[in-house]
């Protein structure tokens, strides 16, 4: 039994503060019930996972419980072409899906950021940017990468379309309290090594299922030193370890980020909220179900070579050989065959056809700055198609103010409008059969970026290095550009 005085993890504090009622029923012999009806404070919606949610509301004659806890935006299927507003009506099924979202939010009076709005962007980029995402809240969205918002010390998790309907109608959901994993990050990151590399290295070491269903809290001085963008990348990738939730305890970095954001509390109420947010940390001595660690001092930039995010390797390494376990060896061989590469080859020998910089993992201004720093004064290699897709129109505007768009276009990158784009490959941005990408997105699954497409995950700086060299390259080893 947990008593009020027992030290609690941040996850447990957030969970306890959202339990409406414990749902009786044993989960295992002699255990207290972990299931509870929990309150969902905020809900993000996009066009791709909510059409059936609204349909369920309609067919059951239900209304929305509290309209101001929801925020909708189109992101998954939208075109990222510069003239997308003029082609929207002709954009076939994608256009129809966006139009359906617009009519649904109008019918149910849900706050909406439409295509063409200066704030439009990927849910997990736009939510934090607007201050819709806050510490201490529960936040749900019909998208697995909702774990991103845990970077603020929020309980943020992905749900299906049916659960979206339940959240619209009740602001509540039945869930089981997750097991907890503490990730201890020691040391400091070297030049050009990022939280994306940390995530890939962690999943590589502990396996893609190491946190299945768990709440993962990232701790250590290295996390404290990270920007909100870097923390969001880390929590975003928690789902690739199978986690339900990624968490970073809020601190002054979090509070400074949120101050003045349009949907965050304002004035005296902000300070009142911030006082509460500062209490949101795991107590000393709090017990986790599991603790794992990673030392960052010697960490090299990482890339993935296979079709599972755990298939990561340092950029100065080689494609690994077959593991001993027979089943693992079979999967290894299958992954290499799909990817069209061989064990033992230096990863920097892997030639690239397409470069994708963007997504809810790495589509923020800090990511574009890192990529632009590499692209500056260089040219995209012959035969390589390179896209930069800002995570939101606000990121795009900020990048243009800083001149990053000029750097990208002069180098030969395609400078696009905001959306999920080639991360999910629902619009025209996709790989052709057999094409190979260097991608800053989150999933290297078979066919994820287009049927038969081959995906190598990496950080924005590394993807830019791949673009200018035409192959996977160690960004730390690029020759200096004469000033």
């Amino acid at each position: 039994m947990t008593t009020a005085s027992a030290p609690r993890t941040l996850y447990r504090k957030l969970w306890d503060s959202h339990v409406i009622e414990v749902v009786p029923g044993a989960e295992g012999e002699g255990e207290e019930s972990r299931a509870a009806l929990i309150h969902v404070d905020r809900h993000l919606l996009h066009e791709c996972s909510t059409h059936q949610s609204f349909e369920a509301l309609r067919s059951n004659g239900r209304s929305v419980h509290r309209r101001e806890t929801h925020l909708a935006v189109p992101d998954h299927a939208v075109s990222t072409a510069l003239d997308r507003l003029s082609i929207a009506q002709d954009d076939g099924a994608a256009g129809a899906q966006v139009a359906r979202l617009a009519s649904n939010v109008a019918e149910f009076d849900i706050p909406y950021v439409p295509l063409g709005d200066a704030r439009q962007g990927i849910v997990h980029v736009m939510g934090p940017e607007l201050g819709f995402t806050l510490p201490g809240i529960t936040l749900a969205c019909g998208d697995s990468h909702t774990s991103t918002h845990g970077a603020f010390g929020a309980l943020a998790f992905g749900i299906g379309a049916s659960d979206c309907e339940t959240v619209l109608a009740t602001n509540a959901i039945v869930q089981s309290r997750a097991k907890t994993v503490k990730v201890e990050l020691s040391g400091t990151l070297g030049d050009h090594v990022t939280s994306k590399d940390v995530a890939l290295a962690l999943i590589g070491r502990y396996g893609a299922g190491f946190a299945t269903g768990c709440a993962v809290e990232f701790t250590g001085e290295a996390v404290r030193a990270m920007s909100m963008a870097a923390r969001m990348t880390l929590c975003n990738m928690a789902i690739e370890a199978g986690a339900r939730i990624g968490l970073v305890a809020p601190d002054e970095t979090t509070i400074d980020y949120l101050r003045g954001r349009p949907l965050a509390p304002q004035g005296a109420m902000f300070e009142q909220a911030a006082d509460y947010w500062r209490t949101l940390a795991s107590d000393p001595g709090a017990e986790y179900d599991r603790t794992v660690s990673l030392d960052l001092d010697a960490l090299a930039p990482q890339i993935t070579w296979g079709t599972n995010p755990q298939d990561s390797a340092p950029v100065d390494g080689t494609v690994p050989g077959a593991p001993e376990d027979a089943e693992a060896a079979r999967q290894h061989a299958k992954a290499l065959a799909y990817m069209g590469i061989e064990a033992g080859m230096p990863v920097t020998d892997i030639a690239i056809d397409v470069v994708f910089i963007g997504s809810c993992t790495n589509g923020r201004i800090e990511d574009l700055r890192a990529a632009a720093a590499v692209a500056k004064g260089r040219k995209v290699a012959a035969g390589v198609r390179a896209l930069v897709v800002p995570g939101s129109m606000a990121v795009r505007a900020q990048a243009e103010e800083e001149g990053l768009d000029t750097i990208f276009t002069e180098a030969g990158f395609d400078w696009r409008m905001a959306g999920c784009s080639m991360c999910v490959a629902m619009n025209e941005d996709r790989l052709a059969e057999g094409e190979r990408s260097a991608s800053t997105s989150n999933r290297n699954f078979e066919g994820r970026q287009g049927r038969g497409g081959r995906t190598h995950l990496m950080s924005p700086a590394m993807a830019a290095a791949a673009a200018v060299t035409g192959h996977i390259a160690d960004v730390r080893m690029l020759e200096e550009i004469p000033a």
Binding site: G25, L37, I159, S162, T170, G209, R244, A425, R443, R448
Partner: protein, 203 residues
Amino acid sequence: MKPFESLTSPVLLLRENRIDTDIIYPARFLLIMQREGLGQYFCADRRVDPEGNAIANPIDEAKERGAGILIAGREFGCGSSREQAVWTIKDFGITCVIAESFGEIFQANCLRNGVLPIVFDPATVEELATLGKDGELSVDLVARTVTAGEKVIDFEISDNARERLLKGWDETGMIQSRWGAAISTFEDGQRAAQPWLYEPLAI
């Protein structure tokens, strides 16, 4: 939602690890806005080649046998939260998935759609795969057992998940009727403690 009590059926074997929801239901079909009739897209890229020709595969073969139980490997349904991954298997005819582990959101989505997810250790999954390969398995949610011929194996499922499937609850209606007042009480307390969550949304 249609209740789930028991099922006796042939088996579709997909004994691979990490069959993710992009494999189960490729993203390009997410543009379809109906939830009925999606079974034709189940693992589409393993059943039809890029030119639209049928590929020999265990899935269509199992369809002909009327398979209603799927036996998978580890982390079945990991990745994207798309509920279409459950709608497609259900429309295909599968109402019970046995695996070594599941992607968590997929597992939650199963419970919302009357599909029973069962977790066993790898050796038991392998045993059931062998026993069910050419015959049938019986799943009984009331007794919490899987039966293959003479062999009866107990499975674990939380009381909460079991009740939801057995009763075929409409979850939203159930929450409203059972907890409507409790939600209001919770929100009154939250409004007092964290008033900033109840400010108008300036959008």
